[in-house]
Symmetry: C2
DNA sequence: GTGTAAACTTGACGCGGTGTAAAGTGTATG
DNA sequence: CATACACTTTACACCGCGTCAAGTTTACAC
């Protein structure tokens, strides 16, 4: 927002008809994207820890100041990197896909499977952002925003379960759609994923199987 | 460990027969304890964020250097504060108590209840330590150690469930004692507690009721 | 060719917070 | 009185973030 570069890098329009547009659009884009990719890579490599802007700059083959020209701050860089990663990995589409299952139960299975394949690719990034949001207002807002779609997915699925109705499997005793979604969301959160896979050593398949099972048993009831 | 004070404050023995022992033991102790209590208070007040050593010193009515004389580093201070808090709140006894229930199922209920009353009192401290352990070897080890007893409690309880045997409620289909304990532990973790209570607004009673229910449904089976 | 502007690089500096070093103060005890 | 202990005060080094100001390079425009 503070950087003059964000504007020109993002949209070729604006009021200034800059003449670089057609001849070397990839070049301008490349620097920004190189920084984003370097940030992402380093964050994953180091699991979100001790990634200095100088490291990013070196990894992207630019000066440290170039990073500031493009992003203005560490927080902005990380937030933009998250946005970039989510886009690269098609977060939204994959959430939609999982939610679009025939029944709520199938959607739960699809959602856990999706998440088990998504989480490892953004783990470092997510940890960095989670740490940042504690002290940074903007990072907190960005994280909130970023997770909104994911939470919405949980809600959608449990509404579906609720809607599936009588003959099918439905929400168990005291759960409401909201409270069930809260638990579903918390169970799928990065720290829980981290605890089960990285700390406790569950493989991806084990994670999928066991978390799916746990969620289904905890929340659903046979008719 | 680096501070000369730790020794005399901790044990009156050692090879140096320091003469302060009987006349003013409370005074020396007081400074150390005042620092610990101030740290704890500030960490809870600020939810583990932006607690500088200068703030601690001011809150404890000592100089910043006194903090270094007693603890040597920020990490050590926080780790010792955690130890102090656990002792003040009788962590070990309360874990034991909960585990000592008649049946595994009752133990699960007691454990969740215990944790729901414990977590809010150490939330800030835990967050600070969780953040610290990412970059600090010693903090990571201390946290591990601190959580070992808690994890052991989960295991003990699920072993109890498993031992309760045929006529009683027991572990459901594919769960083992270990995998069930992993899930139990992750479900009770600070980040999950934070997500459900602080972010999603569950009251303590709601937390207890719903988490107990979820765990029991997820892991246990009627005979 | 010269001019201009975008997209950088280079080097310097301030700031906050941790950690260290050194000298001074107060006080109880032998 | 002297000593040792438990501090305080002041100063400073170090690390990262963030900023500033002055280059340099390249691509067009005229």
């Amino acid at each position: 927002m503070s950087s003059p570069r964000t504007k020109s890098a993002k949209s070729p329009d604006a009021n200034t008809p800059t003449r670089r547009e057609k001849t070397a659009p990839s070049e301008t884009f490349d620097t920004r994207e190189r920084i984003l990719r370097a940030t992402w890579r380093l964050l994953e490599e180091r699991r979100g820890q001790s990634v200095r802007l100088e490291d990013v700059a070196r990894a992207a083959n630019v000066s440290r100041q170039a990073v500031y020209l493009h992003f203005g701050s560490r927080t902005t860089l990380f937030v933009e990197t998250a946005r970039y990663a989510d886009e690269s990995l098609k977060l939204m589409e994959r959430i939609r896909e999982a939610c679009d299952a025939e029944t709520g139960v199938v959607a739960i299975e699809a959602y856990v499977r999706f998440w088990a394949s998504y989480a490892p690719d953004v783990y470092g990034l997510a940890k960095a952002l989670l740490a940042l949001r504690e002290t940074d207002e903007a990072a907190a807002a960005a994280w909130q925003d970023r997770m909104a779609a994911f939470r919405e997915g949980c809600l959608t699925i449990l509404r579906q379960v609720d809607r599936d109705g009588a003959p099918a499997i439905s929400l168990a005793a005291p759960w409401t759609v909201e409270t069930a979604a809260d638990l579903f969301y918390a169970t799928l959160s990065i720290p829980t994923w981290e605890s089960l896979t990285i700390e406790r050593g569950w493989s991806r398949e084990e994670y999928i199987e066991r978390v799916t099972l746990a969620i289904k048993r905890a929340l659903l009831a046979e008719p």
